[in-house]
Symmetry: C2
Subunit: 360 residues, 2 copies
């Protein structure tokens, strides 16, 4: 099988880690022999935008649709306002390809450490999957500004929640929980202060929950109290479902509590498989360390493993597991970047993972 | 001086801790001799609502305006939907009394422990003041639901940011930072994904910042990345300013990282002093431990200390400091509730603080 993958390295460390991920993916395919990747790399980035005035060409979405998956590095650069770069790259891709689920697994990799005292002895305490609504809510993109240049300006952000949008993410979250050993789902909301959209969110959750009664154990948390529970009782959580903004915040916190944002992967999925799904580490372009060769490529490799799992649709799970095992062998061996307390560079870690993939 | 204080115990543990706070405040006044409190207690609560059908009477706001300050316990009870209880009590009070600032100090009290490995040796690493916009933004209260009973319902939450609203909170935040030893302010935003309200938020921040150049050191963080920084580099933060929702989330996280949500205080301020300000611990009604006599009263006492400071307007700082010292002597002595790793009840901790106030 040949998988056509659109690679979008983007900005900053996105470039280094996408290169590394391609190498690792090619090695994995080569060792396996039953599949291979056909990568097309697109130079859509802030750097290109500053030179030519646009991020993606008119036919970008149509082009992407011709691929089996998208591998995304990072976007965002100090010389372009963030809302310009993001609304010209990552956000339209997520929306127009109907990638309405964003899956963010978090756990403490062997050989790495959580900053939480309670997880020092037993890293297994923290093992979560955050299911993020990825198509509407606070990122619906509506809202506007009036009197923008005056000191009496008023600006709005309009969060939109639709029954259809909520129901499908809840269903995905319950199905995810059902496949986990502990079968637990925690739904996050802020329906005490936000009494329209979030109240609908709660209502649809409980409607879908009826179908999983006795199968999945579920509960509800307010987003503020959820941060406290993540810190104090990580072992009480399993799968978590939250809105676009809430899950954005909680998944960064989750990655920090698990040891480093540098290892955290994400999958932007269209569960109907009508359009290609997109895989990206969650760390972003990290301008402060870009070009220094010290970026942690593990979030990129973990994302790559998720891509293999998704593309295989059940048939390449062993290969995805091999890549995860390779990553873990490398962290256990202490070959780690600075963010994980090590002193190795991106290339050394990549080399070590390539060796492991070859060996396994 | 006599301070007229409206006490609203509200729900759950709010009742116990308000009673305890009144005792401590009376003792503080009695030992000092230059001021005293005239408390009027209002039975506005979910319990009363379930009996008589309303939370606050028509003239509640007018009544509250006749007081010098409001002491608030907690509101929220499982048998009433949270958005009903909150929009009938705490949120209208904050809004109608123009309490547009919510100040939330967080630090690790001596004798207590942070769950962060990095703060075990040096608790001074975590010492923050979160300045929360308390009057608009995501809590503007606008938005609605269409087709509410159908499976194609659509609901919205409309966040509103006004120049006036942003400017005044930024000014308050810079003034707060200016008075701190480290003089640092970190502004939190999500202007990469939310490109209207949050972009105005950024713009006004930088406008106000010009006046503080060279006086206050300032920087900007995205709310998701902010959680990572709070976990990884607590000592890099001092004063933090954020929107209503963002600061709600970050202040709960802050309290958890400092050791317990049970100690965290908040002040809802009208800086113009036209209307009474309101003081409340941030823990909420905690139905799971209500009535068990084990609630931590320290968040309530710390809030009481902030009330004394505010009422004194510079003249009762020593008295507020005495109360804080009493609290710290008690934590150092190990007289602590369960949430802080101790085994004492609300009354024992209260008694210990009363003794310390008397002694100091
Ligand atoms: C870059 C940004 C728009 C993005 C988001 O907020 O979705 C990022 O923070 C993420 O978590 O994927
Ligand atoms: C009770 C609730 C409305 C409130 C809020 O979100 O403001 C609480 O969480 C707080 O932080 O004061």
């Amino acid at each position: 099988t040949v998988f056509k993958v659109a690679a979008i390295p983007g900005d900053g460390i996105g470039v280094d880690i996408t290169e590394a991920a391609k190498e690792v993916l090619n090695k994995l395919a080569q060792c396996d022999g039953t599949f291979r990747f056909d990568f097309t790399t697109f130079d859509w980035s802030s750097k290109a935008y500053l030179e030519r005035g646009w991020y993606m060409p008119e036919d970008a979405i149509a082009t992407l649709k011709k691929h089996d998956a998208i591998y995304f590095g990072a976007v965002g650069w100090p010389s372009v306002p963030d809302h310009i770069s993001l609304w010209n790259m990552i956000l339209p891709i997520r929306k127009e390809l109907n990638q309405y689920v964003n899956v963010r697994p978090t756990r403490i990799l062997p050989g790495t450490k959580s900053p939480l005292v309670g997880c020092q002895k037993d890293p297994k305490q923290l093992d979560w999957i955050i299911v993020r609504e990825n198509s509407e809510g606070e990122y619906a993109g509506q809202g506007g500004t009036t009197h923008g240049h005056e000191n009496y300006a008023v600006a709005t952000e309009l969060a939109i929640f639709s029954y259809v949008g909520i129901e499908r993410i809840m269903r995905f979250a319950f199905e995810t929980a059902k496949q986990r050993p502990r079968k637990k789902l925690t739904m996050v909301t802020k329906s005490n202060a936000q009494r329209h959209g979030m109240v609908l969110w709660d209502k649809v959750f409980y409607t879908v929950a009826k179908e999983y009664e006795g199968v999945v154990e579920f509960d509800k948390m307010l987003v503020d109290a959820m941060t406290v529970r993540m810190v104090n009782r990580p072992d009480s959580l399993d799968v978590i479902v939250a809105t676009n903004l809430h899950a954005d915040i909680l998944s960064d916190l989750a990655a920090a509590l698990a040891g480093s944002i540098g290892i955290a992967p994400s999958s932007n999925l269209d569960p109907s498989r009508k359009y290609p799904s997109m895989f990206e580490p969650i760390h972003g372009s990290a301008p402060d360390i870009a070009g220094k060769g010290i970026a942690n490529p593990l979030g990129a490799f973990w994302s790559a493993a998720e891509m293999v799992r998704w593309l295989g649709a059940g048939k390449l799970d062993a290969q995805a597991d091999t890549l995860m095992q390779a990553i873990e062998n490398v962290t256990v061996a202490g070959v780690k970047t600075r963010d994980l307390g090590g002193d190795r560079g991106t290339q050394e870690v990549t080399k070590a993972v390539l060796d492991q993939v070859e060996r396994l």
